[in-house]
Amino acid sequence: MEMPVPDSTILARKAHLARRLAAVLPDDALIQDEMETRAYECDGLAAYRCPPLLAVLPRSTQEVSDVLRICHEEGVPVVPRGAGTSLAGGALPTADSVILGVARMNEVLEADYDNRVIRVQSGRTNLSVSGAVEEEEFFYAPDPSSQLACAIAGNIAMNSGGAHCLKYGVTTNNLLGVTLVMMDGTVVEIGGAHLDAGGLDLLGVICGSEGQLGVVTEATLRILRKPEGARPVLIGYDSNEVAGACVSDIIKAGVLPVAIEFMDRPCIEACEAFAKAGYPMCEALLIIEVEGSDAEIAHQLELIVEIARTHNPVELREATDSDEAARIWLGRKSAFGAMGQINDYMCLDGTIPVGSLPQVLRRIGELSKEYGLDVANVFHAGDGNMHPLILFDANKPGDLELCEELGAEILKLCVEVGGCLTGEHGVGIEKRDLMLHQYSPVDLEAQLLVKDVFDPKWLLNPAKVFPLSATEARRAPALAAE
């Protein structure tokens, strides 16, 4: 992975920069020892590592503002970091950068049930936001798989989704306001507890900007009352086409489940070997979950089962109690762990129009054979967000590169059928160089203009999202000006 050449003049100023940062931070908030900065050398995309020059762990918006102001004055790149769970390398440092971690900013500032919002510091983990309002039977809807560990800051940066976004939407649909610190240290408030922020939808463009427009230190999020209950049904088919048609028919019939998960045979086999959930051995498995009171759940499941039967399922298993529900989810929830057991894997994240599902799965199968690497598919079928898992051996020379090539082919396929490169993980460094497959240079230029406005010196989260060649002209003058 090509990264910009570190600026030697910045490396030479490490001690000076550390002194300036130390002056505005508590003793324990600045990390400069090379052994300790190594803890921040990578995120969830561990194949790529680079220790930062320094790391800071501020506790307040003011401290974040001071750090950014100093780095701005010094012309030093800053890489914001939530919990470091990005699968796309969104928090990968450069050697001349300061890592700005928000993990210590994890307070709940206000839980407001009358207005159904919660205000939190952005370092708070996703699951603990729901945890804070659980007693009152409320929850925060976006639920990425990493929700135990991942931070709201990262969720906002990547516009994270989850299994339940078919009904509840992704982060951007549940975010009402932020405190944003600009690269020059300016603190701005956007939106709040009211449902629409005035003026241009800046909140909309900040969400999903991968930490390149500013550092979010606080967020106002919508919270919802928990449904009375939820229950899944498991349906097995002997072909991906039929399972895809079933999903389409359910949606057309007006049933909107909270989740429709899809697993293909390689994934079912791996999960079964790992978790022993008692899954049937078939080509395609659907797990469909609905919510409501017992009677409402029964009614919706009845409709779903009726549709599912018209497609001749090889297996149809309704959960009648929470034990059975847990067994149905067991395999799906351990899918990633099961894969990790077998091998190293790379998790892709393209989205496709739901109707293209069978065609795309068939082509992925062919590509898998061509490259000689196994691919298992587990994904959110209701919204077309695929997660092909490519198995490879990190210790085998050339295997990672081969895996990345296959990954790129699969993502290009997603774009070809009318989809996109990433549905919820973000571009980061991982898919940076594929951006021109989805967008023309003019399309990308429009996005770069936004970056120019928020971060004119191009210091925030360098070398992510856009191909380096597309941003070179902008980064060069910024560096030359130093």
Binding site: F138, N159, N173, G192, A193, G198, D201, E228, E296, V427
Partner: protein, 395 residues
């Protein structure tokens, strides 16, 4: 391009109007423009700026509709009525309930999908289903330099690059002129029911709406009509489910006031969406967005002639005597939010601006975006930032 007249046509008296027939012509009109353009969908919200009209009427039609994927791709000038009819034929709809502004503003024409997204027009279902911007999956637009740009796509989950789709929604054409939009549609629920609670005062009404919205019953509308003294609560879904939730809510809300079932739920909620209570009445119309619990604090100081509360109290429609500056009153009450001047005479619009001025650093960002996307200041100039512009430049 031969199809394009060298000069705009004179259609309505002296008003010049361009009507490009495709995106290439649209790009050519903008690239060749030398003076401000007033971007026009169906024209039902009027033109906020002076300049030749740029009508999207020629860019109309369905490009792709996949009911099983809940996605629709249409040209921006397509009338909402045409889209609604098509969707209804498959039992689907636009869940964000775009407003029909004709009655309130006394305009004619046919509301378009481009206009609905450009104004982020979101109806009563905003509280449960989201705003217009939450349904916009992808856009094609022409920027102020005349370049065609695409962003987003036609899939429901997409975080590839910056989300200019959201930025275009609600930008009122000031960052670019949308030529094509992809949107998410949803099934029309099998049943709808609307409960009405007799509540005489606003604080109780907001508490009642808060209780309904904080229930597990997936309320899709919560509005208060202070003249009738009625809180309206809407439920949608499968018939047995609506029946069940209606019974539950009736019991749980009984403490707030007498509960009754409304006959014409569809008509009632269309009226709330379009603020039909203010139609045909003189005066300025304001739309104020606040935290619902602030509504009872704000309402008394507005000195409005009539009020309507939607979104659980978070959306206040106010009918006032002409020329009143409601923003000053919101600010004086120390309440966070913003007020949009939806209807007023030219003098009031010029004096107050349609949109609330933003805090300085935010305004700097917004102006920076406008300057880059529309460097020559051609697209609805001054419409969103009249308050900041020198008086000579007001549109």
């Amino acid at each position: 391009m031969g199809a394009l007249p060298p000069n705009p046509q004179n259609i309505f008296g002296k008003m010049k109007m361009y009507t490009p027939q495709d995106e290439a012509e649209l790009a050519e009109v903008i690239a060749n423009a030398r003076a401000p353009l007033c971007i026009k969908g169906g024209g039902t919200r009027g033109c906020g700026v002076e300049g030749a009209a740029l009508s999207l009427a020629g860019l109309s039609g369905i490009e792709l509709y996949e009911p099983g994927s809940l996605t629709l791709v249409v040209k921006a000038g397509t009338p909402l009525a045409e889209i609604e009819a098509l969707l209804a034929s498959e039992g689907q709809r636009m869940a964000f309930e775009p407003m029909d502004a004709r009655g309130l503003l006394g305009t004619v024409g046919a509301p378009t999908i481009g206009g609905a997204f450009a104004t982020n027009s979101s109806g009563p279902r905003r509280i449960q289903a989201g705003a217009a911007r939450d349904y916009l999956l992808g856009v094609r637009f022409v920027d102020g330099a005349g370049q065609s740009v695409k962003n987003g796509g036609r899939v429901m989950k997409n975080v590839t690059g910056y989300d200019l789709v959201k930025l275009m929604a609600g930008a009122h054409g000031t960052l670019g002129v949308m030529s094509e939009v992809s949107l998410k549609v949803l099934p029309i629920p099998e049943a709808v029911a609307s409960l009405s609670l007799a509540v005489a005062d606003l604080p109780t009404a907001v508490r009642a709406m808060s209780a309904a919205l904080g229930s597990p019953y997936d309320v899709t509308g919560a509005a208060y009509d202070p003249i009738a003294g009625l809180v309206h609560i809407r439920l949608e879904g499968f018939a047995p489910s609506v029946q069940y939730r209606q019974e539950k809510l009736t019991a749980e809300l009984a403490g707030f006031g007498l509960v009754a079932l409304q006959d014409d739920a569809a008509g009632l909620w269309a009226g709330i969406r379009d603020v039909s209570a203010f139609q045909g009445r003189e005066g300025d119309v304001w739309r104020i967005s606040v935290k619902p619990s602030d509504a009872p604090l704000l309402a008394p100081v507005l000195e409005a002639e009539a009020l309507q509360f939607d979104w659980g109290g978070g959306l206040i429609w106010a009918l006032t005597s002409a020329g009143l500056d409601l923003r000053a009153r919101v600010a004086a009450a120390g309440i966070a939010g913003h007020a949009t001047l939806v209807r007023a005479d030219q003098a009031t619009r010029a004096a107050l601006g349609q949109f609330q001025p933003q805090a300085k650093p935010l305004e700097a960002i917004s102006d920076g975006l406008r300057r880059r996307f529309d460097p020559r200041g051609l697209l609805n100039p001054g419409l969103m930032n009249a308050g900041q512009m020198p008086s000579g430049q007001k549109g």
